[in-house]
Amino acid sequence: MTHLETELGKLKGDITGMFILVQKQLNKSIQSLLAMDKDLAREIIAAEKRVNAEELKIDRVCENIVALFNPVAVDLRLVFASFKINSHLERMGDNAKGIARYVLEMNEKFDTELIEKLQLKEMFSAANKMIDENIAAFENGDSSKARLVFEMDERVDAINFAATNIVADYIKANTDKTVHLLNLMSIIRKLERVGDLQANIAEEIIFYVDAEVLKHDKSFHNKL
């Protein structure tokens, strides 16, 4: 294995580690939301510092590889893609922290029936599955797995779209809980954003593996 291959291998390991770290943050944020577990929410906020530190470390690794090794072709695409995936993952970590902040602000659990109706657990599950597919795609250089993520994002978008009317109707019937319900809507928006970020990451993985640029290419997404 060449020196560059060793460094690229380390970079891939760092990105996979960042995926896992951020996925844990997201899992904890949903757990804290459903159980209204404020201790867990505080844990997420504290761990956000680790996510930020990891982002800075990976940025530095990418900069060093470009400066020292002048990678080309697939190696260059891997470094560029990693740089952007790193940024997307950090923002995903911000969303998990954002959910935790709402949990800290709220005083009561959400109505179980409403949670069911909003398909919040399904939305979270789809976001989580997207992360799993992206990890497998990135680790194995398998763009076919990354391409599955776009379809899952459509599902997350659909749940998000439907949520507006459901919450609006609920607010009309429960005007005393308006703020509480608006907070719930914000949380749904954050999960939707997580889905978008995973779709962005899938685009970067396809760029790395297949040298195909899908950014801003809505026709590709619509074909799915």
């Binding site: 060449t2 020196h3 560059l4 060093n64 400066a67 020292l68 090794f69 002048n70």
Partner: protein, 251 residues
């Protein structure tokens, strides 16, 4: 930790020309240090101080201390032959002897009094393996060294330098006469060799310096302008002249 090599206020004159101006430098064992800078900046002169190659130049005067393992080698009573057993050197152009591959590597060993066939064979094989050449030549050890490719000849010269088990290896633009594939092989070799050796390499190829070295020293008109970790030199040099040089704005 005592540095493997060190210079203190090293001054070198070629007649009236002041070629090295008060160089204070140190490098630890098992590291690769790259010396970069424009032509005539003093980097090769500096390299050659460590095996006293400058002694061969008329009018050359060296002042200050040059230490290897804490011992000052800039001493007129030093046995230079003994020094050169400990300090191997690889030059810009491959310079194999007009002998067989085996005899090229065995040459230094024979000079050091090793003549037993079994020991010679073991040491030649070890050196060729360290130089990543063994697999390519193991069935043709009696073949003339002049008949193999330039890249193979250069790795043979590296094997020849390693055979006498030096503690320091000096490389003066070791890949400048090689094709890109051979260059890449020699660079990988340098990266692997630092596990056992301390390496000082002069290169005109800045990317090579970036790829192979742990530390980089930038020389300019006889001065060492900046010396730091290679990652720092190539991502955030502290001195503007270094930045201008590595970004191609001068030199």
């Amino acid at each position: 930790m005592t540095p493997k090599i060190e210079t203190k206020n090293l001054q070198l004159y070629y007649g009236a020309h002041h070629a090295l101006k008060g160089i204070d430098f140190s490098a630890n064992a098992n590291t690769v240090t790259a010396l970069i800078g424009p032509s005539g900046c003093g980097k090769s002169t500096f390299l050659r101080c460590f095996n006293r190659m400058n002694d061969l130049i008329d009018g050359c005067d060296v002042e200050g201390q040059i230490l290897i393992d804490g011992m000052n080698i800039n001493d007129r009573y030093l046995n230079v032959d003994e020094l050169r057993k400990k300090v191997g050197m690889v030059f810009q152009k491959p310079n194999p002897f007009p002998k067989s591959i085996f005899e090229n590597v065995a040459y230094g060993l024979r000079i050091n009094g090793i003549n037993e066939k079994k020991i010679l064979e073991e040491k030649v094989e070890k050196a060729l393996k360290q130089a990543a050449l063994w697999e390519e030549v193991k069935d043709n050890l009696k073949k003339s060294a002049m008949s193999i490719s330039g890249g193979q000849q250069q790795r043979l010269c590296i094997a020849r330098a390693l055979a006498v088990e030096p503690s320091l290896v000096l490389m003066d633009e070791p890949t400048s006469a090689l094709d890109p594939i051979s260059t890449s092989k020699v660079e990988e070799l340098i990266y692997q060799l630092k596990e056992k050796y301390t390496i000082l390499i002069v290169t005109h190829n800045m990317q090579q310096a970036a790829r192979v070295s742990d530390k980089t020293a930038f020389f300019y008109i006889g001065e060492m302008i900046e010396y730091n970790d290679t990652t720092e030199i190539f991502t955030n040099p502290k001195i503007e002249r270094t930045q201008n040089y590595i970004t191609g704005r001068f030199g």
